[in-house]
Each structure stands twice: as structure tokens, then as C-alpha cells.
């Protein structure tokens, strides 16, 4: 193959294709394809990775035995533990605390703050992180957070949008908590000093997004999660709440009935530590790094499903675990950024998906699963995608339209992160469209909870992406940062109450792990798989083939 010639970031042959997009742009300014009917939605969804044949199997053990789960998820739920009961000495307790929080994204961090606000002394809280505090999906949220706080909006509208997006399978009590707390959360963030985009007069600036009936999306440029999270982390540090970094939890501890702590593992030295706690909150986020169905992902390096694996072993019930969210617009080119997110806010601001012939082929703001399916159909069924030099397919996202609709200079102001990401590869998203294809984005289901964040297991709470029910089968944009903040708060308050009522010392044991192993053996699960996996592995095949484990 001859060396490719690049013109402003694109190889020559692809650059030529852009002409077709430019030519039709004028006509598309005032044309938006109509939204699909429910029937059309059902039709296109058949090609969605969740509904396309294969990819799933029935779980053989645990509280959700018999339920369908993606193979990659089932592999981890049907895996053996990292530690055997006799290998670790749990009689020496390293940290004795009231509330243990596992995972410090938006959910875990806000849980700590609200537990503290509810009367738990800072030194009676411990937050442990797999990586650094903030190396998380939370910090990457680009687009925004929903809250119905405009005069024309209402919590009912927010509820209906949420339920419709979730295919009417959301758990009503938690979905209700989500929408009713949203304005309160926004107020809390403003008071802590988070800087949201504003209108001229100081009102919060709000935008549409996929599946929304009213403008309800609050953003902080395209760094919403970064801004929300760093404000919470700053507050957390300011209160001097104890935390650990590079210390993933690798197993929970129980007294037989209740969760009473966890085993942590020093990622760098390999030493384990024992935490005893009166209440435990799992806030470990999602599972993008499992690369379900072989998709690339938008998720951070540690998004490996650990929290669910641990909780399932103590008997926590899961729900909607079969529903995976693929974001319609991940980067398909250049190779260095494949799978990275192009925020939905781009479409919310006027960018259109366009096929190889320069046609706008889908309403830009369908719910995510519908939009993603339409793009897959365009690329693989109608063959109207663009093929990249590495053999990926994608459609155009016509970003220059944004400035035609909102005025010059708008992209730079609203999407500095996007500009930066592409500029590194010589592409100017103000002048040229970019290639996109769906990417694995979000864990729709997870551990079931009540509106206080309590699971069916005593002593165990969950908050954030690790939980299931709020979003049903499909989450809307901006409902997940919100979910973290709402249920982080509720879990923080609820654990505080529990702890105050709870006297006496807890026993800690790993018997449940032994039981789980027995169940696996009885179910005939024969494998060498171990879980949690903690981190994915991207080492080169050549280097791996010659690796010797010496130490």
C-alpha cells in the first residue's frame, strides 16, 4: 500500500467524499428528517446490538439465574474470585469506619458529602478508588445534566421523557426520585460554585437532547462532568474526608446477612487491606471496557463492572442487565480516537448525521438506541457509509452546520474540547464534517435499588451507573450525571441514618464467596476466568506472547 496523502487531516480519497456533504449542506439547513414513528423505531431497533441475534446467554447462577445477559457480562458473573477464603487473613482490620464508599465518581463523591452533611464525622467515612479520585466516567461527561427548572417545563414532562426513552421499563419509584430531586441538585451545584452556561440575563442556558420534549439540558461548555466533578472533589478535599487511591475493592465482607466491609488491594504493591464498615455504598460506575459485542468504548480505563460482580456474590439482585447503551456518535476516524465520544450536544446544537451521498437520513435527536441503529443500518445494510483507511465504517456528522445555525464562533465557545480533540489530528470541525459510528457507552441496567439507594442486601447501598432501574432499557442524555448526584445524595443520607441507628461491632467474613464458588461448581461452570478484572488489557500481542512472570 502506498503512503496515504493527507489533506487537512483526511486522506485524499476521503477528502473527496466530503464534497458531497458540502454540496447538500445549503439544502439541509432548513431540512430535518422527520422523527420516526413507534413502528419505524421498532423496525430499525432490530439491527441494534442488543436485539441483533446472538451476543447473550442465560445466567446459570445467582439471584438473576435464568435472566439474559451479554456474554461479556455473564463471563464475569460466572467467574471465580481473585482470592480464596484461606489466602487472606481478615482478622487484622486496617480501617474501621462507619461508611465505606467504593468508587469516587460523581455518585461516590456526592454520597460522601451528603453523609457528612447528615451528621457523620469526616473521619468515619472512607472513599476508596481503583485509580485516582476522579479517573472516572464522571469527569468525561461532555454534554450536560437534565433538570426541569424552566417555567415551561415540569417534573412530569421530565418523567415522561425519561420513561419513554427507557421503553416504559423504568422502575417508577426511582425514576420519580430522579426527576423530583433534579432542580434541588442543580441548586446545590450552583451553591458549591459550579459554573453552568448562562443566558444573557443569568438564567441557566438549556438545550434539547435526544428524546427530550423540552429544552432541559444544562451544560458547562463541553466539559460538564469535569466541572461538576472537580467542584465536588474540591469540596471533598476541603472537608478532609479520608480517601484511598489505587486501591480497588476486590471482594465484599459480610457477617452472614449484612455487608460489613470490603477487601481492598493495592494496585501497585499487591498488598491487601481489610476495611470494616457499618454501611457500604458501591459507586463503581459502568462496564464500557468489557467491549461488549466487540465495540470500542467511550468509557474510562477502569470501567470494568467490578461493583456488580462483588454485589452479585453477596446476593444483590440485578435488573435490565441485558440492555446496553451504544452512543450513536463515537469517532470512527482517525484511528487514535476511535470510539471516543462526540457529545450529543453537537446534534442538540444543529449537527446532522449525513450519509455518503450527502443525505440527512435520520432525525438527529432520536433516543440513543434508535439513532445508533439508524447509523448501523446506513453503514451495513444500505451501504451508504464511508470506509476508513483501517476498514471501519462511519457516516458523517456535519458539524459546520452548527455555526450556520448558531453564528460564527459558536463552536469554539460551546465545544472547546471537541475542537481540541480533532485539531490534534489536523481536522477543523468548524470547516469539515467528521466520521462517526456507534460506540459502547453506558450500562443501562445494574443493581436494583429503592429510592434511598438501598439494595435487597442489608448494609449495601448503590448509586450511579452501577445501579439499574432508573433508566429502564435506555438512558437519556443528561440523566446519568443527574442519577449519580441524586442517588449519591440519597445513599449518603440513608447510610448516615442507618449508621446512627446501628450500635455494636460487626463480624466480617468471606463465607459468601465460598458459597458462590460452590454454586458455580454445582451449576457446572467450568472455567479459569477470575473476576473482578479490575483493568482491561491492551498490551501488544507480540509483547504478551513473550512475557515471563518472574516476581
Amino acid at each position: 500500500m502506498a503512503e496515504l496523502k493527507y489533506i487537512e487531516g483526511y486522506p485524499e480519497n476521503i477528502r473527496k467524499e466530503i464534497d458531497k456533504v458540502t454540496k447538500t449542506r445549503e439544502k439541509r439547513i432548513n431540512y430535518t428528517p422527520p422523527a420516526m414513528t413507534m413502528k419505524e423505531r421498532d423496525e430499525v431497533l432490530r439491527i441494534h446490538p442488543d436485539y441483533a441475534p446472538g451476543g447473550k446467554r442465560e445466567l446459570q447462577v445467582g439471584p438473576n439465574k435464568g435472566n439474559l445477559a451479554p456474554n461479556e457480562v455473564a463471563d464475569l458473573l460466572e467467574a471465580y474470585p481473585l482470592i480464596e477464603q484461606d489466602e487472606v487473613n481478615i482478622s487484622q482490620v486496617d480501617y474501621d469506619t462507619d461508611i465505606l464508599i467504593i468508587g469516587g465518581g460523581l455518585a461516590g463523591t456526592s454520597a460522601a458529602l451528603w453523609a457528612n452533611d447528615s451528621g457523620i464525622a469526616t473521619e468515619r467515612i472512607l472513599l476508596t478508588n481503583k485509580l485516582r479520585h476522579g479517573d472516572a466516567n464522571s469527569i468525561m461527561a461532555e454534554g450536560g445534566t437534565q433538570a426541569a427548572d424552566r417555567e415551561v417545563d415540569s417534573v412530569m414532562k421530565h418523567y415522561i421523557d425519561t420513561i419513554g426513552g427507557g421503553h416504559f421499563e423504568n422502575k417508577p419509584d426511582v425514576a420519580r426520585a430522579l426527576v423530583e430531586d433534579a432542580p434541588l441538585i442543580m441548586k446545590w451545584l450552583c451553591e458549591l460554585g459550579a459554573i453552568f452556561d448562562r443566558e444573557e440575563g443569568g438564567d441557566l442556558a438549556e438545550k434539547l437532547a435526544g428524546g427530550l420534549s423540552v429544552k432541559r439540558m444544562h451544560s458547562c461548555r463541553d466539559y460538564t462532568g469535569l466541572e461538576e466533578f472537580r467542584v465536588l472533589r474540591d469540596e471533598f478535599r476541603t472537608r478532609e474526608i479520608p480517601y484511598l487511591e489505587h486501591y480497588p475493592a476486590i471482594e465484599l465482607l459480610t457477617d452472614g446477612d449484612r455487608v460489613t466491609g470490603a477487601v481492598l488491594w493495592n494496585l501497585e504493591t499487591g498488598e491487601y487491606k481489610i476495611v470494616r464498615a457499618k454501611a457500604t455504598i458501591i459507586a463503581t460506575g459502568g462496564y464500557g471496557r468489557l467491549h461488549i459485542r466487540g465495540f470500542p468504548t467511550t468509557n474510562h480505563y477502569g470501567a470494568t463492572f467490578d461493583g456488580v460482580v462483588l454485589a452479585y456474590r453477596v446476593g444483590a439482585k440485578l435488573r435490565d442487565i441485558d440492555a446496553v447503551q451504544y452512543h450513536p456518535t463515537g469517532a470512527a476516524y482517525p484511528i487514535q480516537i476511535v470510539g471516543y465520544l462526540l457529545t450529543e450536544k453537537l446534534r442538540g446544537s444543529g449537527a446532522q448525521p449525513v450519509n455518503a451521498d450527502g443525505e440527512a437520513f435520520v432525525y438527529p435527536l432520536e433516543p440513543r438506541d434508535v439513532e445508533a441503529s439508524a447509523i448501523i443500518r446506513e453503514c451495513y445494510v444500505r451501504n451508504k457509509g464511508i470506509v476508513t483507511p483501517t476498514g471501519l465504517r462511519g457516516v458523517w456528522l456535519d458539524t459546520p452546520l452548527i455555526e450556520i445555525k448558531n453564528g460564527k464562533g459558536y463552536i469554539e465557545k460551546a465545544f472547546p474540547g471537541m475542537i481540541r480533540m480533532y485539531k490534534r489530528y489536523d481536522i477543523d470541525i468548524r470547516k469539515d464534517p467528521v466520521l462517526v459510528f456507534p460506540t459502547l457507552h453506558y450500562q443501562n441496567g445494574g443493581i436494583e435499588t429503592d429510592p434511598a439507594g438501598r439494595t435487597n442486601v442489608d448494609g449495601l447501598w448503590v448509586a450511579g451507573e452501577v445501579s439499574g432501574g432508573v433508566h429502564g432499557k435506555n438512558r437519556l442524555m443528561g440523566n446519568s450525571t443527574l442519577d449519580c448526584l441524586v442517588f449519591g445524595r440519597r445513599a449518603g443520607m440513608s447510610t448516615a441514618e442507618y449508621v446512627k441507628a446501628h450500635k455494636g461491632e460487626n463480624k466480617i467474613a468471606l463465607d459468601h464467596v465460598k458459597r458462590y464458588v460452590k454454586n458455580l461448581e454445582q451449576a457446572g461452570v467450568k472455567c479459569t476466568r477470575r473476576a473482578p478484572i479490575i483493568l482491561p488489557d491492551y498490551r501488544g500481542k507480540a509483547a504478551l506472547a513473550r512475557m515471563i512472570d518472574v516476581f
Partner: protein, 252 residues
């Protein structure tokens, strides 16, 4: 078994293999050599520093987080072949280039001040109180040159000294707190902590809680929507579906 197969899904998975399971040398045509902490490695040409190191056999347990330029965990310093300049960048965002030699700085020792934004006066003195070293800035602009986000770091430090909260917030907003500026600063200022304090002050006092938000929170606490919500949550799926399909959409 037929209905358990999806050729389209298989094709998608195949095309994404390199990004999901690690790179196989046989798929690669162009190669470069980079020096990781002095050791030479031959790696594929189209990678970032992060993925090049992984190709070389490194499994990260530190020095990586988001992999997409948001978290600031993968700060790296490097020189290029034949270039005297010491450069900085994020490993996940910087292309690996032939002849590059590099090391990661996955941690910045830096003291964060303890304050309570609800109690501080909204004036320039807040910076002097908590980060008195800001006044030692010699305007050398080294921080600006080090910033992987291309922020005008020196300008926001100057804005802090002037007590210009709005300006500081605007200039520093895209900061990912990677620590590279602080590592290079001759005056030993921790720029990103200064900016964090400034932004929180601006958010709380400069912008505050808008009236429409305050009003909505009040309505909710007073139970204005409770009855209607009670009705909604007890609707059947059929009723909800109807409400959903018939709901009006606000124009763009």
C-alpha cells in the same frame, strides 16, 4: 444455531479488534521507534504515546485514567530527536513520533488549601490568604507553554492577582488539573488549585442561583407537583405510551 448469529455484528467486531483487544503486529505496515525512559521500542506508527507504551508491553496501573484527555492522569514530558525543547503533553492525546524519548509524570506533589467557599469574602484577598505564592509570579509564561490544553495559564494567574474572578474562570475553565504547569513554574505556584478556588468563588458569588431555579425548588418542596406525579407513576404502560406519543415538543 442460525438465528444466534449476526454477520453485521461480527464485521463490526472484526473492524474494531485493534482498539478492543490490543494490536497485532501482522496488521501493521508503518513502524517507528520511541524511547520509553531511555529504552528503545519499535511500535506502530499511528498511535498515541499511551497506546504505543501499551503496544510495547506496559500494563498501566497508574498514569492513565480516562484515556480521552479529561482526567489529567497521563502527564508526560518528552523531547523529539534533534530538538532541544523539552515538551509536555498528555500521553493519551499526543501522537507518538519517531525518535521521541519520554517519561510520564503521573503524580504532582502539590498542597491544596483548606477553605470554606460559603464563608470567604468575594474579593482578591482570598487568593493571597490561601495561595500567597501567587504574588511571586515572574510572568515568565513557562506555565502557558507547558499546558496541554493550550490555556493561557499565566493570564489566569494574573487575573487571580487582580481579583478578576470572571476572567480567571473563563481562561482556566478547560483545565484538566494535570499538574504540568505547576511542575515547570519557577515561582512554585500551583496554578490549577488557585484556579479551582477562583472558579468556585465566581460560580457561587459571581453567578449564584438564578431565580427560576430557586422558584422551581420551592414549588417542589411545597408539593406543587405531588398530586400529578402520584397520578403519573400509577399510570399503566398503555396510558404512559399514549401520553408519551402525544406530548408536544418545544421547537429548536
Amino acid at each position: 444455531m442460525e438465528d444466534n448469529k449476526s454477520p453485521i455484528m461480527d464485521r463490526i467486531a472484526e473492524a474494531n479488534k485493534a482498539a478492543t483487544t490490543g494490536i497485532d503486529a501482522k496488521d501493521i505496515e508503518n513502524w517507528i521507534t520511541i524511547h520509553i525512559m531511555g529504552k528503545a521500542y519499535k511500535v506502530p506508527a499511528d498511535l498515541t504515546i499511551l497506546t504505543a507504551m501499551e503496544y510495547a508491553g506496559y500494563k498501566f496501573v497508574r498514569g492513565v485514567g480516562c484515556r480521552q484527555g479529561f482526567c489529567g492522569a497521563c502527564a508526560t514530558v518528552f523531547r523529539k530527536k534533534g530538538d532541544y525543547k523539552l515538551q509536555t503533553g498528555m500521553a493519551c492525546q499526543t501522537r507518538a513520533e519517531d525518535g521521541m524519548y519520554l517519561v510520564q509524570i503521573p503524580f504532582t506533589p502539590a498542597e491544596k488549601a483548606i477553605y470554606d467557599v460559603t464563608k470567604e469574602p468575594y474579593e482578591a484577598s482570598v487568593f493571597i490568604r490561601y495561595y500567597p505564592e501567587v504574588t511571586r509570579c515572574v510572568s515568565c509564561n513557562t506555565c502557558t507553554k507547558a499546558c496541554p490544553q493550550d490555556l493561557e495559564v499565566m493570564d489566569y494567574v494574573q487575573a487571580a492577582i487582580r481579583g478578576d474572578f470572571d476572567g480567571l474562570s473563563d481562561i482556566s475553565f478547560d483545565c484538566i488539573q494535570c499538574g504540568l504547569c505547576a511542575m515547570r513554574c519557577p515561582a512554585e505556584i500551583v496554578q490549577y488549585h488557585v484556579a479551582q478556588l477562583g472558579r468556585r468563588m465566581f460560580g457561587r458569588y459571581g453567578l449564584g442561583v438564578p431565580d427560576h431555579l430557586r422558584k422551581r425548588v420551592k414549588e417542589i418542596t411545597e408539593g406543587k407537583f405531588t398530586d400529578e406525579m402520584n397520578k403519573l407513576v400509577s399510570c399503566s404502560t398503555e396510558e404512559l405510551r399514549k401520553i408519551y406519543t402525544e406530548r408536544e415538543k418545544e421547537p429548536e
